[in-house]
Amino acid sequence: MTRDRDADATPSAGQDLVGGLLTIAFGGFALSKALSYPMGSALRMGPGFFPAILSCLIIVLGVALALHALQRRMARQAIEVRLRPVVTIAIAVAAFALMLERFGIVPATIALVLISSLAASRLRLWRSLILAVVMTGAVYVIFIVVLQMPLTVMNW
């Protein structure tokens, strides 16, 4: 199975419809925010003027995209979402962010490598452990020794 089997194909009607609806939602949200800022006049524009115009344009284009989808016959093609890598990488990065300033870069890097490895196709514990150790060493040499960045190394 190749990853980009449809890299050159035109987007499906489903992709157009969902994309259009999300675009409308984004534009609507931005517009509601923009309207809460002073509008000013065309000559002395307020902070709300430009974002309001942008949001309206986005909504219009979103509607166009959604209509484009409805115009076409709905070919049933599911949008395949792979949740596992999203969740694993999210947890790994969040753990890194929370540990970096509190515990230092060494434990944070180990956590990031070990947790994110869980998204791999096959789990190989030893390889992940070795990778974590090697990466921690590399990070230490590059960022602390060579670049001398002001990072906490380890703080238990």
Binding site: G19, A30, M45, I58, S117
Partner: protein, 505 residues
Amino acid sequence: MKFLQHLALGIDVAFTAQNLLYCFLGVTLGNLMGVIPGVGAVAAVSILLPVTYYIPPSAGLIMLAGLYYGAIYGAVTGAILLNIPHTVSAVECLDGYPMARQGRAGVALFMTTIASLCGSVVGIIIIAIFAPPVAAVALTFESPDYFALVILGMTGAVALARGSPLRSFIMILVGMLIGLVGMDVTSAQPRFTFGVTQFMDGISIGVIAMGLFGVAELIANAGWVRTSQVRASDITWRSLLPTRSDIRAAWPAIARGTFIGALFGVLPGAGAVLASIMGYTVEKQLAADPSRFGKGAIEGVVAPEAAANAACQTSFVPTLTLGIPTDPITAVMLGALMIKGISPGPEFIGAHPDIFWGLLVSFVIGNVLLVIWHIPFIRLWVKLLTVPFDVLYPVVLVFICIGVYTIHSSVLDIFLVLLFGCVGYGMRLLRFEPAPLLIGLVLGPLLEAYLRRSMIVSHGDPLVFFERPISGSILVVSAIVLAWTFRKSFKRERAALEAQSSGAQ
């Protein structure tokens, strides 16, 4: 004759052991910073800044400059190999990464190295000849002129689009809106900040770029049963070298990119990003078959790279002759000069020929060093692609996370890169392109600021954009480019329709 004397003086200065050493140090460290995803050159500059207090001004300047262009040289590596751009190299992702996926990463890296060298050296020659007069013209640019330039950049962004123009237009607008996050410069009103102080200055482009391209790429690919893209036995020296047809396609693109970059570099504040966008746009417009772009067209990689490097070199013109820094790094360089009691300005070249010409010659040395330093590494970088993705993605993730953090020492930025990674994955699923979003992000706030400021300084006269010769002529050029783009795409669409209807019958 005088030029030769200056050149001799420059060679004298640049070839001292001390200056060679600092040049080497600067470009090497800069290149390293550039290759590591996310780590900006600003971080490196702030580390090396104290060193400049203790060495002569020419050596300090040579080192800081080396750091600056070394980083731009290195930045393209991540873009081509892993689809992880720095802000300057986002455009190179468009065709560089597809080339790598086709097993042509070596060719892409080799040709961008040549493009960088060419862009830089020609950029240097342009500095040497035209610096002072060109810089003086650049200073007459006012807000309406910059507004027109941004419009020109936007017409370029429309041309950048691969796939549906409707979708790329949406992405440009979304990018512009995200670019408005933060305190409004004109009214001090915080916009879209959700009460978070850190959002006052907006979201850093580096964070968004690494999220939408880098992290999204990792999420999309992690966990597929897939061995490496390239087999180690396939990497021969020959496979790294461009073919004759590559070279034939690339050299005019390099020449055009260099010219465009040199032009944009001189404008204070326009910079390398705009130059690389325009470099790409021109190539796509001139191409006989624009549909090759976005799928690994060599012109689409080398032209923006040559443009970015040429712009980087020529940006020293406003810095040195006008005392106007074009970004934080040139600002630091100016600071280093002023501490030594040397003030940049039109008289700078006359008053300190040793520093100016020494710096120029060191640019040449530095660029040659970079090529020597880069070419043997190409094989190593390409080998990187033979590493199984399961091993590669945690490594890349580590560098992205640390890199993002070092931009502003901000933990929030790490969460943001994650957020934009997830958004980028969603965009992929729905077939939205991240590149136009990034361009909207750069251009949106500029467009708004120049528009509003133009209206204030013209006391509310909208005709100001057409009355000024500079802005007027740039706007006319933009209109022509836009008309050209639409005419082309209209023709294409009609041809496609005809093909479809004839196929149906």
